[in-house]
Symmetry: C5
Subunit: 321 residues, 5 copies
Amino acid sequence: MIINCVAYEEGRRLCDIDVSEVAVHLAHPHRFVWVALHDPDADELATFQEVFGLHELAVEDALAGHQRPKVEEYGDALFVVTQMMSALQEEIQFGQLAIFAGPGYVLSVRQHHHRGFTDVRHRCEREPELLKQGPAFVLYALMDVVVDRYFPILESLEAELESIEEQMFVKGNARTSLKRLYQLKRSIMCVKHAVNPLSEASAHLFGGRVPALCKGTQDYFRDVYDHLHRIEAAVDTIRETITTAIQVNLAMIAIDEGEVQKRLASWAAIFAVATILAGVWGMNFTHMPELDWRMGYPMALGAMGLCCGALYRHFRRAGWL
Amino acid sequence: MIINCVAYEEGRRLCDIDVSEVAVHLAHPHRFVWVALHDPDADELATFQEVFGLHELAVEDALAGHQRPKVEEYGDALFVVTQMMSALQEEIQFGQLAIFAGPGYVLSVRQHHHRGFTDVRHRCEREPELLKQGPAFVLYALMDVVVDRYFPILESLEAELESIEEQMFVKGNARTSLKRLYQLKRSIMCVKHAVNPLSEASAHLFGGRVPALCKGTQDYFRDVYDHLHRIEAAVDTIRETITTAIQVNLAMIAIDEGEVQKRLASWAAIFAVATILAGVWGMNFTHMPELDWRMGYPMALGAMGLCCGALYRHFRRAGWL
Amino acid sequence: MIINCVAYEEGRRLCDIDVSEVAVHLAHPHRFVWVALHDPDADELATFQEVFGLHELAVEDALAGHQRPKVEEYGDALFVVTQMMSALQEEIQFGQLAIFAGPGYVLSVRQHHHRGFTDVRHRCEREPELLKQGPAFVLYALMDVVVDRYFPILESLEAELESIEEQMFVKGNARTSLKRLYQLKRSIMCVKHAVNPLSEASAHLFGGRVPALCKGTQDYFRDVYDHLHRIEAAVDTIRETITTAIQVNLAMIAIDEGEVQKRLASWAAIFAVATILAGVWGMNFTHMPELDWRMGYPMALGAMGLCCGALYRHFRRAGWL
Amino acid sequence: MIINCVAYEEGRRLCDIDVSEVAVHLAHPHRFVWVALHDPDADELATFQEVFGLHELAVEDALAGHQRPKVEEYGDALFVVTQMMSALQEEIQFGQLAIFAGPGYVLSVRQHHHRGFTDVRHRCEREPELLKQGPAFVLYALMDVVVDRYFPILESLEAELESIEEQMFVKGNARTSLKRLYQLKRSIMCVKHAVNPLSEASAHLFGGRVPALCKGTQDYFRDVYDHLHRIEAAVDTIRETITTAIQVNLAMIAIDEGEVQKRLASWAAIFAVATILAGVWGMNFTHMPELDWRMGYPMALGAMGLCCGALYRHFRRAGWL
Amino acid sequence: MIINCVAYEEGRRLCDIDVSEVAVHLAHPHRFVWVALHDPDADELATFQEVFGLHELAVEDALAGHQRPKVEEYGDALFVVTQMMSALQEEIQFGQLAIFAGPGYVLSVRQHHHRGFTDVRHRCEREPELLKQGPAFVLYALMDVVVDRYFPILESLEAELESIEEQMFVKGNARTSLKRLYQLKRSIMCVKHAVNPLSEASAHLFGGRVPALCKGTQDYFRDVYDHLHRIEAAVDTIRETITTAIQVNLAMIAIDEGEVQKRLASWAAIFAVATILAGVWGMNFTHMPELDWRMGYPMALGAMGLCCGALYRHFRRAGWL
């Protein structure tokens, strides 16, 4: 589906145009065309492939969805694949934004994701001074917003981790904590695989040898790279913390078990003493004077109570009960 | 065994040829010969070694099978070793495809693996425009299909991991889960050693300094590299997840054990109380009035039942039973 | 808030100046202006942005706070972001110091942190020979003091680790030790993310290709780098030690549990023997001669005592009690 | 001890020569001398040091034994240190082969190892075409055979790992498994330290900038490097598998413990019920009608048996017994 | 404190000189001055700073002690910081040796360490041929001896590890083993931080681009580097082995616990059977014929003994006792 197909001149919006008019505008030196597609079928994309001269392999990747993020040069054009993420009811929904940027055109292909980029277009149109820099700036603006949308995801993962941490040192939550930690680990791995390759790839858009298209906008791409690097660091922290948290959890389980064991041992001792005393006075010796005492029975019960009580106090003090 | 030996001109199939005719076709500048061997004996390979001028060490590797994947340059020729994988009844079957590609020829040597590449040949022959690019394109087509066949393997491993995950948080499955995780780890290590060296090696076929043969087909090899990189990332995720899963499993075992212990402790307490009461009324004191009551015995049994019931409810509420 | 705005000539303080006068001093070849801001609002910073010609992206980063430490070149100017740390009641308080340094000016922007840099200014002013080297030296002096303030943080973390270690091999502290280790791990991760990127970035300020501004002060920046490297090494040691400590803790918990189990087993055995003996003499056989002995009962009690005592000694010797 | 000292011309063996004649043959442009020493004393080596002009530090290393594998250039000569390994009754025996190769000579110094290289010499002499390439080829031949002898070691370690794996999921083997895993880990670390530095060092003998001596034999050294890389990969797999195996072992121990605990709990419950019943009928109430029944006693025993049997079946079904 | 201050010409000792004479000797082209200081105060060092023209930052580092090992170039001079280690009653004592080497002088500053380098000086003076190479050779000689003194430390750590290993598979040593492993880990981390940075830094003293001072002595520095690399490998082995050992220890603890549990369970079963039997014959049924048998009591005791004995044998065979 074609969302937008607009021609720009000197950073200013000229008009919405039809696919058939694209070639005309491409011929103008100071103009560029910015096309946005959403879940296009092969034919739609094929039209633009021809007019922009896109490489077959890139077009395949754009259509396939769920590719590895990357930045590839095809002659003087750039092909960028990014993963889109958005939180959807405790799950992370993944999509793909593939961007073709060459002299005179930007073509963005969004796949399997509901959230569009019209806000980016509007923001760009409000700043013609910047938009004048052409396709490279649009490429930056799109990458920037894709990356900026990673931050809320990251924050929700960090919040989840903190919530697990609070629960972690409280008894009886081990099973849930572990399940959530495992789930979190899975999510963070997905985020990592969306972020790391993009960060690595975007490092080629500034410094050293840079694609001709990005010459004048290096500082912007460095900014994107910087954001990605920040996310990477946060992802690494979460990963390492999860590992530690699982280990700590295991230790907490062992501690809890040890405490239950101590309690069990204490009660067993108390009961055992009562049992022994009852056994002793249940022996059938002929000469057991206390058996004939008037107060023998209550005294026996009292003795049993006393012993048990003393043991109880002892274990209480030792922290076993 | 010679599977195929065909001469091509300008991307079009000329004819099946005999080994003895190969040298004739090699002399034509716009032709190339594409030979496919399967588990060849040393003599078969020796014939082609002579006519194509293959290096002895490369031929040894091609014959040996189970080599490390690699891309080697011998003069203006390339020698590529890849590992083939296919799922065979829960096991991964490994084979080797060694490819010699030089000016005017491609020779593929398949070892210890049942699945051939005739489909690749047919696909290539249907696209003479691409096949016109010569041996490098054939090399790409073969590598591409070898790598594409890795994906189903990977998916089956991911499916196995997910099936273990589902089982993991259910009690009583620890032993099987561990066995399967261990097995999965072993498999993933094998896949890793098939993929990583190839990925590393194929990075030399595009960008920077490239073998002369691959000059015009760099974008294709970058595509192969990209697929390999995607597989590598997936392999890494599985590996890291297995490690976490084993730790979580260990913790789950400890939790289960703790719960069994609590149940044991609860029943022990209930039984102990009943034992003590029976012991008390089994004592031989002369003056134990309740012993002579008419309803003494049923009341005693009732008291024992009540105590045990009260304890049972208590432990039930505490979640120990 | 503007803390200071001073012009320097040949390393000597000229005078405090107003924002409006900055442009005048910038024009003088041997002068430079050193401005210090604290939590500035966007307008304050905008004034300086214009007069110094700062890049918009850098200004955004300086205002935002909590950026990743970095060193960026914008034309012939440098933009450095560092994280400030200070210990605040067992917590580490983080702030940001962003420094813009270009020909003729240094602008430091401190965010979310209470501790200023007037001491640095005074120290610099006391050494005009060094200050004569201009903005690069001021940049060094600021970075140096930021990094030097990391050391007390590190020492407090090391002290915490040592205090946990002392506690670790003492019984019954496992829960607290783990909590503290986990907390320490969290802190050290934060320190790591403040230090590592800065260390990496500052490596570009000496050796090989160096920004023009830093040409004459390379040795100083190497010194900063060296300090950062030292901190990195210490951070790595703490991280690795925490991992080991958690594992050791887990093992200590298991050992403690084992000892409790042994004690439990010993007492259970002692009680069981007494119970059996009482049970034996409670049997109702007609012919049990010892039951009629005068001293039967005391002898029975004595026998029970002896058995229990012998067992007690046995377990004592075995180290179970 | 001098094992061999032979002069070669154009790849063909000339004659065994004496130490004193070496200098004569060195002068001939198309000849080279190949000397093999075994555990030489300092004097023997000193003779050759003088005639070949070997560097003092290299000679020291050759004499010392147990050096780190390495490839060093001294002027136009190469000094290669490799570790020899052979399996000796479940232990790996380590030795050292140091090779000096320069224009006109190869000197191999074997230390602390029983297995020699006469087979290499014979193989080389049978292929004068290859041997014609001079000292570099001899160097390759020696390195190749040293590396080839690593494979059986590796296979025995893999066999050991597989044998442990088979044992691992069987109960009651944990202690032995752990001991063997630990031992295996130690062995594999030794192999790693013999292989990795050599692999790294041998990478300098082909590709990019190469010592003049190896110019024509690069493909051969790449082959050695390739073998070393294969061993490295196998070593890494074993190492990672050992780590996983130890974790799995720990989990298996916990599972076994849990099962013992369940069995213990089951029997305790069965015994407790019998004890309670016996206790109840041992109570001294006056009115316990069943006590006077004719069949009271056998019925009581039957009731006890029934209860115990029912519990037994219950636990059996639950998989606790 | 000045330990030595000697002038050398052409590798031969000229005479002990006073600080004031240093400048004179510096002027001679073929002479150099070798000064050794021990825990100098700031003034002593300042004298030499002036005469040799040392950089302030380097002097600060030399005075401070406990710096990170490094090799820094200041113009045509080198500044090397190494850590000294010596074993002192089970503890490693750390010190620092800072070396300034420039054209015409070597100045070594030893801090916080008792062991000097007069033996190095004597050895050097006995080999004027080598010493003739000037300050770079002295620098090498000092670094070489510092590194050589690491080996005994390493050996003592390896011996400690082996002694722990022997103890590890013996029961009841877990607590001590863990404590010692933890301590060893701490020590090895310190050694690592003394060795790794030095190894990294010394790699700049040979191969590729080398400081002018070291041009003629590259082979020597490569030798130092080689030794450091060997130590690094050993340190890594120890670290990895410690990690494995802790895991194995944890598993051994679990195994021991499991065995204690089995023993406990066995005895509990034996006692429970005896208790039940005594309970049965303690029941008050009227018709229990065996109670009236003459041999009833001894037969009962015999039956109890038989049951317990049978159980004992059973558990013995099962390996539980």
